[in-house]
């Protein structure tokens, strides 16, 4: 018990004394995750939107694939991207392995399917009269698509935030692709794993509490967005 208590006290001290190392890791994590999420949104939203409004034969297969990708294990993503980016890999010459860019690529692969799948369901759950009403009022197909997009805006933002929640909390890909290099690619999650294994329980706990607070904030925003829809 003593050990846990000391950890909590140590964590509190680190957080409230604005420990530079803790905040450096936090800042890096937020920056990388925001960038990764935005990139994922640029990929995921159009894909989800396109699948939702178009009719093609292999659509059910595509939807199943998206849903499968949503639950892709992070270490598997780490492994696959590693295979491509490592020095011996086909893209090894780019020198991306163990850089923030590699972490962002991994995050993109994790978050894009989530954002795409949630975009798909956001557009699908929209009243079918939206498109018809837009057309009946004189919109061409592009204008009607934009109207669908704006009508689904709350759910689309929720999709993007859910993607952010996924990337900020994952550890496997960040560890394997970023390499957990101090001051360069160390994220909240990889630092927690490392510090805890080193016996620095207080430091790990401090980061864990910050991560928890962020998860809480993300979910609070999600909740508000979903309420705004009503």
């Amino acid at each position: 018990m003593q050990f846990i208590w000391e950890g909590i006290v140590g964590a509190g001290r680190l957080i409230f004394s604005l420990d530079p190392e803790v905040y450096e890791i936090l800042l890096f994590t937020v920056q990388v995750s925001i960038f990764g999420t935005l990139l994922s949104a640029l990929i995921g939203v159009p894909i989800g939107f396109w699948v939702a409004i178009s009719e093609f034969k292999s659509r059910p297969l595509f939807v199943t694939l998206l849903n499968t990708l949503m639950s892709l294990p992070t270490v598997v993503v780490g492994l696959l991207v590693y295979a491509f980016l490592s020095r011996q890999g086909p893209l090894g010459s780019l020198g991306l392995i163990f850089t923030p860019a590699a972490v962002i690529i991994g995050q993109c692969i994790l978050a894009s399917p989530i954002i795409a799948a949630l975009t798909l369901s956001a557009v699908n759950s929209l009243d079918p009269r939206v498109a018809l009403t837009a057309r009946a009022l004189g919109a061409d197909s592009l204008q009607a698509a934009w109207t669908i997009f704006t009508e689904a805006r709350f759910a689309l933002m929720a999709a993007i935030i859910a993607g952010f929640g996924r990337v900020i909390a994952e550890v496997g890909a960040a560890m394997m692709l970023g390499g957990n290099i101090k001051g360069y690619t160390r994220t909240l999650t990889t630092a927690i794993a490392l510090e805890t294994s080193k016996g620095e329980f207080g430091f790990g706990l401090a980061l864990g509490l910050i991560l928890l607070a962020m998860a809480l904030a993300v979910n609070a925003i999600l909740y508000r967005l979903q309420r705004g829809e009503r």
């Binding site: 009269r129 939206v130 018809l132 009403t133 837009a134 009946a136 009022l137 004189g138 009508e151």
Partner: protein, 335 residues
């Protein structure tokens, strides 16, 4: 003679291999009000969608302002001079202003003009000052009027309304009918609306087009009776107030029936047949009509019966003769 706005030739529309509309020839004149009446499933909504140029007909041709829109690169431009107000319209989840301005925005009307036109349109429907309201704060009747304002804001050639008064209370029905008249009178907009209510159709429209199972039936509707559907045992009956008529489509809300004159059998003796409706009556008028003879029979209600000249001669019919009318319950069209 007024200008023709829609010209239809051999128009057919099928949905999932079922024929839903078949109109050999029809034209609409510019600046008139038309009512499409008919029971559910008669093809009214499909017809409006085709007229709105949103739905290409399966076959046949539809000319709008002398152009065939489906072969034209100007399809979108032609479309923009028509608005279709859906039966169960939806307002976008934003302010009243943005909803009313939507049609103007997609037509690339300048921002200043949009503001002015929205203000006028809202004033016309009695919602002046509602610009900033969110649509979720509106009552059902207000929302319905906003959808009308959406159409009023635009300079239209044609306004298509699908059951415009189906979901609103009587007070709003009056307001809406007045708006339709005003729009037609002041702007010369051609208005085509669908309705279940014959009385509304005749009150509002210059021409009434009765549709039944995708076909245009005789216009004006003959042997039209007002009343209500009553049930006795398993039979669905229509009570006109004078006689009971057996019907096969028991639509609770129905207020009108009509029986095509050519579907009524005229005989000098009572017929014993499978037809459910049989009435004795007296001939009160005889008239030649395009090679046939229209016989009017008083049998509780006045029925018009159409028979061939040969039958007329063979039966030796004359005024005051006692005759019997027989028709199947399936021949009765219910509105």
């Amino acid at each position: 003679m007024r200008e023709t706005i829609f010209q239809i030739h051999d128009l057919r529309h099928t949905f999932k291999e079922k024929k839903v509309l078949e109109i050999p020839r029809l034209s609409f004149e510019k600046g008139k009000i038309y009512a499409l009446v008919g029971p559910n499933g008669s093809g009214k909504t499909t017809f409006l969608k085709i007229l709105s140029l949103l739905l290409p007909p399966t076959s046949g041709s539809l000319f709008f302002c002398g152009e065939n829109p489906w072969g034209s690169t100007r399809l979108q431009t032609l479309r923009q001079s028509i608005i279709l107000v859906l039966q169960d319209p939806l307002l976008f989840n934003t302010t009243v202003f943005k909803n009313v301005a939507y049609g103007l925005k997609v037509r690339k009307i300048s921002r200043e003009e949009r503001g002015e036109r929205v203000r006028k349109a809202l004033q016309m429907v009695g919602l002046a000052g509602f610009e900033g309201r969110r649509v979720k704060e509106l009552s059902g009747g207000e929302a319905q009027r906003v959808t009308v304002a959406q159409a009023l804001a635009i300079d239209l050639e044609v306004l298509l309304l699908d059951e415009p008064t189906a979901n609103i209370d009587e007070k709003n029905v009056e307001i809406l009918e007045e708006i339709i008249r005003r729009l037609n009178r002041e702007n010369g907009t051609t208005i085509i609306f669908t309705t279940h209510h014959m009385d509304q159709a005749y009150r509002l429209a210059d021409e009434v087009i009765p549709l039944f199972e995708g076909h245009i039936v005789q216009s004006p509707v003959e042997n039209l009776f007002h009343g209500r559907v009553v049930k006795s045992n398993d039979l669905s009956l229509f009570d006109t107030g004078k006689i009971l008529i057996s019907i096969s489509r028991p639509e609770k809300e129905a207020k009108y029936i009509s029986i095509p004159p050519q579907d009524i059998l005229l005989s000098l003796v009572p017929l014993s047949s499978s037809a459910r409706n049989s009435y004795p009556g007296k001939i009160i008028s005889l008239r030649e009509n395009k090679g046939a003879v229209d016989v009017t029979v008083q049998a509780g209600e006045e029925f018009k019966v159409r028979i061939t000249k040969n039958s007329f001669r063979e039966m030796g019919l004359n005024l005051g003769h006692q005759v019997y009318l027989t028709f199947k319950s399936t021949a009765v069209k219910v509105f």
